[in-house]
Amino acid sequence: MNHNTLLMFEVTILVLAIFLGIEVISKVPSLLHTPLMSGTNAIHGVVIVGAMLVLGSGHKGAFTWIIGFVAVVLASANVVGGFVVTDRMLEMFKKREPPKRGE
């Protein structure tokens, strides 16, 4: 694909993503704003894709290798930590615990 066409498409989806983001996120109640933050935190862990591409891109310079490796470590911590922490939080939001007050 021609570079300019590609760039145009990329800018288009960027702008659409802004509107999509605002649309979806404004529907999240303030009750869940902390899980929203840690959930979006996990989502930006998708930077792991970039880190993997750097590390696995085949040019073998020690410099690229080290940078890529550190980036993969950081990004994986971001991904796993983000999803686990969000899951722990969301698990706690319950309507009513059945054993205590089941009226």
Binding site: S30, I43, V46, V47, G50, A51, E97
Partner: protein, 464 residues
Amino acid sequence: MSYTSSNLLYLITIVAFVLALRFLSNPAHARRGNQVGAIGMLAAIVVTWVKTGGTSWWALVLGMAVGGGLGAVVARKVKMTAMPQMVALFNGVGGGAAALISLAELHRILPDPGRPRTDIAVAIVLSGLIGAISFAGSLVAFAKLQELLSGRPITYAGQQVVNATLFLACVAACVALSSGVQQEWLLWAVVAGGAVFGILFVLPIGGADMPVVISLLNAFTGLAVAVGGFELENNVLIVSGMLVGASGTLLTLMMGRAMNRSVTNVLFGAFGAVTASPADAAASNGGGSVRSANAEDVAVMLAYAHKVVFVPGYGLAVAQAQHDVRQLADLLEEKGVEVTYAIHPVAGRMPGHMNVLLAEANVPYPQLKEMDEANPEFSRTDVAVVVGANDVVNPDARNNQGSPIYGMPILNVDNAQAVVVLKRSMNPGFAGIENPLFYNPKTVMLFGDAKESIVNLAQNVKTL
């Protein structure tokens, strides 16, 4: 794998992320949404794995095992009160990864003949700069929240000038790199400068303003990732990064609105460094007196009320009294009292923090009312119990134009029939602002440690 097929497969990930956010609109299926998001992430990792064709596969496995292992361990161990610093930390490492990718990309493309395409160069410098700011800023926010650093604003003379100069220098280097200067060290300078700027920029922001800072840094990392998508020509990075960027920006603005302060004021105002003079404070309370009560009296008030609203602030979390409050609420409910919790948007150290803390204490979420829902209820409330909150219930925000928090939306607890304030002493809160609620004839103060007071109340309610 070709550009087309990998980007098509990445679409699975994008859809999964959007669904994950969509599911968050309702606490009943929010958890499933998070799982959908995780599956989407897994899909992205698998596609990328295939794309790299097994190059350095053992390094990838090792890196993911180390990072993922660390992330999992920390995420399992962290206490819910420490969630803000945890989010700051994960946010920081994401930004750091984005900055590193920039450095590696420039290193890869510079030896190619001809200057790099301008759009790629712009993406590289922006992702490097924003990622570095986010990385270092998040680490400082982490240190402040973890109390490794003082939560008070750290200021010095000429701070704004130093910050502005540094930032402009970074921007100048970015412009040079984007306009074809092929010097790798310049990008290192941008990243290092961005990191220093990130540190200097968060240092003067006080602990109570952390909900704004954390949301903003979240938006920064999202933006760094989105821009990184341009340098790698990768759609999933662009869309996911921008979703996070939009979310962080929206939350930042909401938090600013909840404190009735512009985001600029929060970031550059060093709020909390100035304290009101004692003379002003004395003037605003109108010379009224404070009524204090003991636990027995308050227990009677609560037990014979129809409707009790708890108004928790960060003091509740500091005292670790969430579980005790819930036990007290259970006892009251057994006596037929209707109990709810009124939550101010900036209660806690990050957006929505208080809800998580109460959910952890098994408070059913339908009882957690946000401000707009809670305020009309106060006029039908017999007793409002304020635990560890101060500024968010300060009527000066409504009435006193001279107050530093004038205009901030508050919980109108003074509309309730009676107000009980649990407080350690009469010392004004973090921002040093006097609170006329304490002098209101409807108000009684129950002095002492929040946890002990609540436990005392519960014991007294039991005997009634």
